[in-house]
Symmetry: C2
Subunit: 316 residues, 2 copies
């Protein structure tokens, strides 16, 4: 089944692609098989992360970016990822409705992903979903994350190019940039540029960036946009393309992808450790005995874990 | 150093306790040692989780709960945990300032914890910080989580008793309860009870709970409170104490703690897997070679991880 599915994904079948993303969302062995079978066909797409606080207009901006990319006849996929679901599930549904101007376009694919309950699950599933879209022939993959927490940043960083979206007067966000937290942004956008203070916010960001230390020669541009009307979106798209060209010319694309693979491997081994423990808890009386010992305060969880770990992986 | 620190923690030294929590926040071997040396002294405190959307008045409510607990001369500690820091760091600082009415009380200890950057880190650190407070002699430990995402819920579930705080008219939250997601609440509070619609919200929750399926004989009470004035807080505190008595009498306290220990073990093995991989990446050329193979699309990350895992743990 997985073999057929992977062939359909590679052939660009949209329904198969939707199913494949559900498989990787669920994780586990089937997901690993599927990734394994399409992996050699991936690595070609430009992956763009879009992140920012709720209400800054990320979805409208993504919608406008799709339009730009389509002008160049690029195939575009959007993954709207919400790591803090179930509570904000409504927001994502709204996003999908908003983007429905593109639903008849066969070269646009939009998909929401939410946390299916197991920790660390969203970021792993995001890596793999990007791979499915990539293998399926999409040129541009936009990962939109709802929110600005740690997990959202982690997801944004799975991208080649990260766009950080702000709006005028969002003082907290600008404070975060000043304190150097947001050095992950490759391109900054002050959206809702028709609101008062847009240029001031942009200048503040520019000033902060001038003081910042960068590890590479790339200097993040700061763009004022009005996504609703499309104003500034061509400039934004150009910056994103410039950043891609910079990554390729400087060899940094490979450095970035190498870092990303390390982070991914780390999440995979963590996930395997969790799954193996879960299996052992269900099947091994030794492991159940350890739990009882912990409850009786005869052994602490950290010591118990270091005793358990060799046997968790020994039989595999 | 860890030995001395653990003795000071057990002796109830506040400064040592603060240092110990920093050690467990950082994680790794020192944290494990510290936990190991105080573990036999823990397990006595009543751990209360307080969670809910931003703006519902959690901090004021926690402040009022401290006052209730102090009336019975119980020693109270509060851990304000923000898994989606750095962005919302301000909120937590605000919380601490708000609770400063208790700062001169030597039987009250308030501490903020934020994500120090590594995934899964906050929940592990929370387990261990609770243990430090517990071993240090606090009778009641309140874990306040800022926000309502998946990680916040996971943290709230490290408690014996979980209080879910809502406010009148928070339709999304009530929707979430209806869809059965919020069955983790042991006690429900509609705070800001002086706002319009408070009783309607409470009735809606009661109605949802009547339809819900419960695994135990406990039926979550729904309390309307005004934390600012203290109204309803005595009733809330009584419900929390009733829940504790129920857990003890029914033997469910042990069941809950057993589940919690399983979840914790799972996070510990995942964390160990991540750390061992990180060490190997720094020290082993074999592991570096695997990364190169992945970049060259010769092997996919899932297959690579399953090859790497035995060696990650073999030498330990």
């Amino acid at each position: 089944m997985i073999d057929v599915l992977s062939q359909q994904v590679i052939a660009g079948d949209r329904r198969a692609l939707a199913r494949a993303i559900t498989v990787v969302e669920d994780g586990g062995k089937e997901a690993a098989q599927l990734v394994s079978s399409v992996f050699s066909r991936s690595g070609r797409a430009h992956v763009i992360g879009v992140t920012g606080s709720p209400g800054v207009g990320k979805s409208t901006l993504v919608d406008a970016l799709i339009t730009e990319a389509r002008k160049q006849d690029l195939k575009v996929a959007v993954l709207a990822v919400d790591p803090s679901s179930p509570f904000t599930g409504g927001a994502i549904l709204g996003d999908r409705i908003r983007m429905q101007g593109h639903t008849l376009d066969r070269k646009v694919f939009i998909r929401s992903m939410a946390n299916r309950g197991h920790q660390g699950g969203v970021s792993l599933a995001t890596y793999d979903a990007v791979r499915m879209l990539d293998a399926s022939g999409f040129d541009v993959i936009i990962i939109e994350t709802v929110g600005v927490g740690q997990s959202e940043l982690a997801i944004a960083q799975t991208a080649d190019t990260t766009i950080l979206v702000l709006m005028p007067g969002s003082g907290d966000d600008i404070q975060a940039i000043k304190s150097g937290i947001m050095e992950i942004g490759d391109v900054f956008v002050v959206n809702k540029g028709d609101l008062p203070g847009a240029n001031k916010s942009a200048s503040e960001i520019v000033a902060s960036l001038e003081l910042a230390h960068f590890e590479t020669a790339w200097r993040p541009p700061v763009i004022v946009s009005i996504a609703e009307t499309g104003q500034g979106i061509d400039e934004l798209w150009q910056s994103v393309c410039d950043h891609k060209a910079f990554l390729e010319a400087s060899g940094l694309l490979e450095t970035r992808r190498s870092k990303r693979i390390q982070a991914e491997l780390s999440e995979i081994v963590a996930d395997m450790a969790r799954r193996n423990l879960k299996d052992s808890l269900a099947n091994s009386t030794d492991v159940q005995d350890v739990i009882t010992q912990i409850i009786n305060r005869e052994i602490d969880p950290h010591t118990a874990a270091s005793h358990l770990i060799p046997s968790l992986f020994a039989s595999r």
